[in-house]
Symmetry: C3
């Protein structure tokens, strides 16, 4: 087994490693995000047992519906988050994007826990994670624009901004 | 601040830039898609206020449920769209895939607005965006097959097709 | 038309091809996943017609709700699956990740068919596809850790493990 795993890991050609280090942090944050989604799903399964709500039903006491909706809402935003995390990491800066990614996942954890307790408890963490998402969107727009200007027009936007 | 942003953007090594220009257009379309999803979410939040439907409830007057479902349906398809956009952009052609991506996002905007007005209003834009998705699927299959044939079998499918 | 397609495919520069072969298998599995999601959506549309449940309604006889929920559940997990498939394929091993990806998609097909027949029918395939997801998560963690150790610390974890 170990031998297979070793061979598998070693089979990456050396030049692709130079590219992988450009995404290793955002890949790590993505895996954390996947683990968080798995945790949310498990909480819904436990809530289904606790409140005896058998599928395909999605309605039950408010305590159940809040857990269900908390997970549904986080699932809805997950692909949006992963997409913007990777674009921001690739075109702006991997380190800053990963930090935002961690903050977002932390905000979503608070959202889930808060929403599970009361509908009001979801609001503060929702605003927080939405703000982080907007920062990642801003990073992505900046990164892409600056890339386009440098690559296609030979203009360094940042240098320009600084020299003014 | 500007200095940090400058350093962040400048820290990309020069060789990775050659790769980023292979995805810059689809990255841009992805960011537009993220913005569109943010817009849809905001519309649901406004509709919740307008029709006084407080979470975790998802049922209310038809006018509310149509907005809620319009956003839910677009969210459901968003990861499917992003996945096929990137595969098509990487393996077939970035420019054509980005144009399809823009058309898809435009179709989804019409879907959302149409569905918000009446259930029937969602149909025409749904068929349109589904067709664009099928084009992207076709591009992806063509691109991957053609890559496999060239890379592993040394056969240029397109040249073959033309020389017949 | 053929000429345009030909030009489009041929326009990839030769050096990017060396990178694309690192992801061609997971790209192929992703396209299959997209096709599966399209199939699930079509089944919901047919079920809406069969049971006369017009949007925006999502409630109806159990036979309808099971199909609707089966598709909703698969959609919820789709971005999680695609994310972990790519991280595992990039950082661990493309072949093994693609095999897991195919198993997951097969498990999801059984989940959908099982759930459509009876709520109980979803359980066995759900456990199976969850297990495959955990394997992909394990691969990703292993791949990222091993990359970090080799790239930043110059330590080959696998060699270390074997020499003990
Ligand atoms: N699907 C969401 C879309 C908009 C959204 O993200 N709303 C926030 C603020 S009202 C929320 O926490 N929704 C609760 C929920 O989705 O159950 C909804 O139904 O509200
Ligand atoms: N979740 C969708 C899956 C299938 C789908 O995309 N249906 C189209 C055509 S009926 C639609 O517009 N559905 C409306 C909706 O999702 O609310 C559904 O419930 O219908
Ligand atoms: N959205 C899911 C999250 C958790 C989950 O994946 N549950 C499994 C086991 S109970 C399932 O098959 N749920 C059925 C469904 O989503 O309709 C739920 O509502 O249950």
């Amino acid at each position: 087994m170990v031998r297979y795993v070793k061979k598998a890991v070693a089979s990456k050609p050396p030049d692709s490693k130079d590219m992988l280090d450009q995404v290793v942090l955002i890949a790590g944050v993505s895996v954390l995000g996947v683990l968080e989604q798995a945790y949310f799903s498990l909480q819904v399964i436990y809530a289904r047992r606790k409140f005896s709500v058998t599928p395909p039903s999605t309605s039950g006491p408010p305590g159940f519906e809040r857990v269900l909706r908390a997970q549904a809402n986080c699932s809805e935003y997950f692909p949006v988050f992963v997409t913007i995390l990777w674009v921001s990491g690739l075109f702006f800066n991997q380190g800053l994007s990963s930090i935002c990614g961690l903050l977002y996942l932390y905000g979503r954890f608070l959202y889930f826990s808060g929403y599970a307790k009361s509908a009001h408890g979801r609001l503060a963490p929702l605003y927080f994670s939405a703000k982080v998402l907007w920062v990642l969107i801003g990073f992505s727009v900046l990164g892409i624009l600056s890339f386009v200007f440098r690559f296609y027009l030979g203009l360094d936007l940042m240098q320009l901004a600084c020299s003014v």
